[in-house]
């Protein structure tokens, strides 16, 4: 970062910032679609509290989303993979990218075979990856082989956002905050802790119908604590 004479601050598009810029520019070439769905988090919040007490770990909403996404990707292989020169590659492994905010910008280390990991394991691995990303000590390979990315911005207080694809992956999920909202349950308006999930996908690789079925299944699994 450097300060020019007129008081402006210039952040060069170098280092991690440069890689982010190049990656997102490449992502912008993809014809993308966004789909959104609200999740009633009543049961999940209870489950998170229970898991925290039972394991003594800092299990969060994020880990429940990661686990739900990983398990659902296994059942929806069309969403899990990358777009390469060979074509659309659907991978047998579910390798989840997790967006991590660092002083240099957002980076996306990957939890390999995330569908085989329970909440406590996910918590440990994500914490280790996030720490490594923030200190710049993660090896290059930690950022590769992702088949899907989850980006959570709930801690910033936003309700929803449409993330940009993390190339070459087919899709990415944006997760907003949990907030009390008025919803209709059994014909009555009640207050419930709600969270909006936004799926953005590359329409070259995936169509709206299977994408919608995937997002619905993620939310159904999450709300039912079936993870």
């Amino acid at each position: 970062m450097s300060a020019a004479d007129d008081g402006k601050t210039i952040v060069p598009l170098k280092g991690v910032r440069g890689m982010i810029a190049r990656s997102l520019t490449s992502a912008w070439q993809a014809p993308r679609v966004a789909q959104g769905l609200d999740a009633d988090m009543t049961a999940v919040l209870q489950r998170v509290e229970h898991e925290r007490q039972a394991t003594g770990r800092k299990i969060s909403i994020t880990h429940t989303v990661l686990r739900s996404v990983a398990l659902t990707l296994r059942e929806h292989p069309a969403v899990n993979g990358i777009v390469s020169e060979q074509g659309v590659e659907h991978w047998p492994q579910v390798n989840l990218g997790v967006a991590v905010n660092t002083a240099n910008g957002v980076v996306v280390p990957v939890v390999p075979q995330a569908d085989a990991k329970d909440l406590a394991t996910l918590e440990t691995e994500v914490a280790t990856l996030a720490e490594g990303a923030r200190t710049g000590r993660l090896p290059a390979a930690s950022y590769q082989r992702g088949t899907f990315t989850v980006s959570t911005l709930g801690a910033t207080g936003i309700d929803w956002f449409t993330p940009v694809l993390n190339p070459p992956q087919i899709a990415i999920l944006g997760v907003g905050r949990v907030a009390q909202r008025a919803v209709v349950v059994d014909g009555a308006v009640v207050a419930r802790p709600m969270m909006t999930l936004t799926l953005v996908f590359d329409h070259r690789a995936l169509d709206g119908h299977p994408a919608g079925l995937f997002l619905s299944a993620v939310v159904r699994r999450l709300c039912a604590c079936d993870f």
């Binding site: 170098k14 991690v16 980076v107 990303a133 710049g136 390979a141 930690s142 950022y143 590769q144 082989r145």
Partner: protein, 82 residues
């Protein structure tokens, strides 16, 4: 003559076909460098690396210019030693 490279450790488990980006050179042809001196900044995926001179010597040639990408094992510059 000794090659300056991005060491193999940096490339461990990296996907085949991945290229690194040479961001900045801190030395130019004709400069004298010491062993271990940082001579360039490189980005590999999202990991930043400082490239160091493997030996003392004089920079004979720059093989990968700043802002160019390169593959594993590529000589970034050549040093005349001794």
């Amino acid at each position: 003559m000794v090659d300056i490279t991005l060491p193999d450790e940096a490339w461990a488990d990296v996907e085949e076909g991945t290229e690194a980006l040479l961001e900045d050179w801190f030395v130019a042809v004709g400069d004298r460098v010491e062993a271990g001196q940082v001579v360039a900044n490189v980005m590999l995926v999202k990991a930043a690396h400082e490239v160091t001179a493997p030996a003392a010597g004089i920079v004979e040639s720059i093989e990968v210019a700043a802002e160019q990408s390169f593959a594993r094992g590529k000589a970034l510059a050549r040093l005349k030693t001794g």
